[in-house]
Symmetry: C2
């Protein structure tokens, strides 16, 4: 299967799995359930599910089990988008070319959608058909990556940094927490779901995940600077307009592009010896970088 | 130990445990961590922790393990209060006699505080020193009680019901989800933490928890109607003013009080044969009811 076909197949099965693991719109409270589905089932890039499945090829995990892990992490990602878009945060009205959740519904519903999606992630993980030991480790991995020491904490640092430029080290720490922690967790969850990898292999994949998270953020900053609203499906130039620090504002466009190449080399080196099963992860890194060229 | 001394001792140890299981205020992001601690460490009633420990006496659980379960469920409860108080929900400025989180800090921070507290609950549960099987069951119990089929779902029904009075069955369903699910989960978590109860005993405690949740809500509605803002430590008459349905608006004050007595009888009957270890749970039910007399 080509990489493009593989990505498409993972996106399709993730859409089906999300439909399955979200509460049905026909059940009470219907408006909340509808809004949760509106926020999730919009044909997103499904970057984190792709990572779960790509790491799952290496760990030899069951694809249906990976779907549940992928849904859990995608629900966390979507909850963060719904809350980030709210008026008291980024006040964004467009997300993937569609009205954001609080625009389509209302603010109170968007608040509850985010809250309930976070919970739904843990409900989904708790029912994964793996040993209780792996379930507990999956919960630990996802929770640590999402909370005050991960995504939510990174968001808090980002908020505090508006108008007070961060230096390179602080910017990197913020992104490692805000975006990187969940990307890293996606790879770790796919690796754990196979229940077969030794500690050393798990550790290398974890380092790969950390670098990939950073790579993703630098590329995102470059695109926010060079892309149009139409291309991105969200408001372009938003971070620069809000005086938020980005890798581009810090390093310049050429510097940021050079940093991307450096991170890519580091990442590919880490999984150079994993052979054919590692190909999907390698392809994902290349795919991310290609968006900037 | 008298019941009053016992309650005080549980409240004190819960305060100590929350301080331990919340991220330290000295660590980055300091403002988020401070605000999480502001929301949690305010000497609340700790009703859910009391239930965890009371059920834990019956299951013979280790008190330090119960502290972790108690912290997890209290973090979920506090996150829901922080989000409920926000302008787009109840728009409340007072909570336990103190400025609410978004008033003391700001809306964006309050949003993140709620998000991160929910995650912190699962981080805490994932590290409980019990078998992985029990950890997975604790996560499942807390997540189901908190999400779209529990607390968050009840909140959504409550929102939708403003200005559209619910009938008795709908009102009961809303409260069973919004408040009752977490109260029931508290008792179930205390019961699970002992890792010793048979299914039948667990089931009876679960039914007790369901009735107690309802009892708590009816009493809360009575107090909202008869108490003063000063006594309650929060704005009195808020629900009636917002045209929200309550047991008092539905049954009248005398009817609601009679319902309380009926629920109390049912609850006490369910644990009549549990002997001395059941005394704390019985006392809690009596304590709740006494607030209305």
């Amino acid at each position: 299967m080509t990489f493009t076909s593989w990505m498409e197949s993972i996106r399709q099965r993730t859409e089906v799995a999300l439909d399955q693991y979200l509460p049905p719109a026909s059940h009470n409270p219907t408006r909340l359930h509808e809004a949760m589905r509106y926020a999730c089932l919009n044909g997103g890039k499904r970057f984190r599910p792709l990572l779960v499945h790509a790491a799952g090829v290496i760990s030899g995990a069951n694809p249906a089990t990976l779907d549940m892990c992928a849904c859990a992490i995608e629900m966390i990602h979507v909850y963060s988008l719904v809350h980030d878009d709210m008026p008291c945060m980024d006040d964004d009205t467009l997300r993937r070319g569609m009205p954001t959740c609080h625009v389509q519904y209302d603010e109170a519903t968007a608040l509850l959608v985010g809250d309930a999606l976070q919970t739904q992630a843990f409900i989904t993980l708790a029912d994964v058909p793996l040993t209780a030991k792996t379930i507990a480790e999956l919960v630990r991995t996802l929770a640590r990556a999402s909370g005050a020491a991960g995504m939510a904490g990174g968001q808090a640092i980002d908020l505090a940094a508006v108008g007070q430029p961060l230096n390179a080290a602080e910017l990197e720490q913020m992104h490692i927490m805000k975006t990187g922690a969940l990307i890293r967790a996606a790879i770790r969850m796919g690796a754990l779901a196979g229940e077969s990898l030794d500690t050393e292999k798990l550790e290398r994949l974890d380092r790969y995940g950390k670098i990939l998270g950073l790579l993703f953020q630098v590329v995102d900053d470059i695109l926010d600077c060079t892309g149009t609203t139409e291309e991105l499906g969200k408001t372009a130039g938003k971070d620069a307009a809000a005086d938020k620090p980005t890798y581009v504002s810090l390093m310049g466009l050429a510097g940021a592009r050079a940093f991307v190449d450096d991170l890519l080399t580091q990442a590919q080196h880490l999984i150079a010896d994993s052979g054919a099963p590692g190909q999907r992860l390698k392809d994902i890194a290349l795919e991310i970088v290609q968006r900037t060229h």
